[in-house]
Symmetry: C2
Subunit: 234 residues, 2 copies
């Protein structure tokens, strides 16, 4: 059975998926859907994912999108260590809880903040300052929730686990979008959240060397975005 991942590494759920497959030794073909070239809007890609978003997969004759669905599916379809998506139904429910919460909280806040402070500049879209502020507020509230309820002192991963789940990977890759911002901005937003900073480091270590390898896409784009921002006087 062949597995194709349709991804662009500038997308955070795409990165989570690529890292997951690499760490778990799942063989796949990576098909780049270049978002900057709008390849996700091509008629060919609509045959893979009618929602025109990345990531998507084709596994034999099964087409899937929605990164959480894909991660849960791959963790079940391949011989993956149990901690990624526990077979114990209570442990699995706790992983699923964070994934479900993510959609309308961290993801929603982070996407709105990053789009309206950086990506809009790059794609020539209007910047909505009010949406950026709302996004930042939701993102910061989400950081507080994660630190208050799901990360425990001296325990590396969500729910006090010793090893990461697909929820750790999905959420940490989301937070890594802040690497597109300039350093002072990242420090302002993430600096006060020591537990989250430690969690990012622990996730990097647990998925080395793939985490850094897959995130290498960010630095050159950050330089370009910051150059563009300076040029536009934003």
């Amino acid at each position: 059975m062949s597995l194709k991942l349709y991804v662009d590494r500038i997308s955070q759920p795409s990165r989570a998926l690529v890292i997951f497959c690499k760490v778990n030794g799942i063989e796949f073909e990576e098909v780049k859907i270049d978002l900057t070239k709008k390849q996700h809007h091509s008629p060919e890609y609509a045959e893979i994912n009618p929602m025109k978003q990345v990531p998507a997969i084709v596994h034999d004759d099964l087409k899937l999108f929605e990164s959480h669905t894909i991660l849960g599916y791959l963790a079940s379809a391949f011989p993956v260590a149990d901690h990624w998506y526990p077979s114990d139904i209570r442990k699995r429910a706790k992983v699923q809880l964070v994934l479900d919460w993510h959609h309308s909280n961290l993801r929603r806040g982070s996407v709105s903040y990053i789009f309206n402070t950086l990506i809009a500049l790059a794609v020539g879209a209007p910047i909505n300052l009010s949406a950026a502020a709302k996004g930042e507020k939701l993102m910061l509230a989400s950081f507080t929730t994660i630190e208050s309820f799901w990360l425990e002192e001296d325990k590396p991963f969500l729910h006090g686990s010793a090893q990461p789940s697909i929820a750790d990977l999905s959420l940490v890759c989301e937070i890594m979008q802040l690497e597109f911002a300039e350093e002072s901005e990242r420090e302002r937003l993430l600096g006060p959240h020591k537990r989250i900073l430690k969690w990012i480091e622990d996730t990097k270590t647990a998925t080395a060397p793939y985490f850094d390898e897959v995130h290498a896409v960010i630095a050159p784009i950050r330089e370009k975005l910051q150059g563009l921002k300076a040029q536009l006087g934003k």
Copy 2:
């Protein structure tokens, strides 16, 4: 083991959960968290669900929230017919796909539309017409997606299934929020979507008599809301 559901039937995921338990003969105690009395903001309820939302459950010593997580958990923890949450990983992934999609599409659109056309009036919040319009647009686009990709002609449920899954129940209960609106408005929004109207009827039939029983909460509130709307000249 005891199961407590913390719900308010005016909330669509609360209704999905109550219907699911009743249809599947799962014994539970229903604890009403009255949203109109802000009981979800009480310190006692924060012990159950720190996110201060309904629904939540306590099953023995396990506390859960996020309705999709709860539905998946209950379908695994109790002897529930397989079609609700298939054990086959490919079929399950297709159910999960719709659930994940729901968060940022139908749910997001519908909640924004209903809040900014009706609920805001009832709770004395400012009405944001632009948010109502954006919500309506996303909700209608979601109807089109459901009809184009997931409901098949002459097949009652999502992905052409003969019996409902937790995704059918969750999404149909979401659409039932439109019952809070006046009839002409429901007709304007849902009338053109014949396949969705049929799907609602098929879900009602598959979960009778509980679907109507649990939705009985809506009609008297609709009368009040419409009265208030007339009074305020909105």
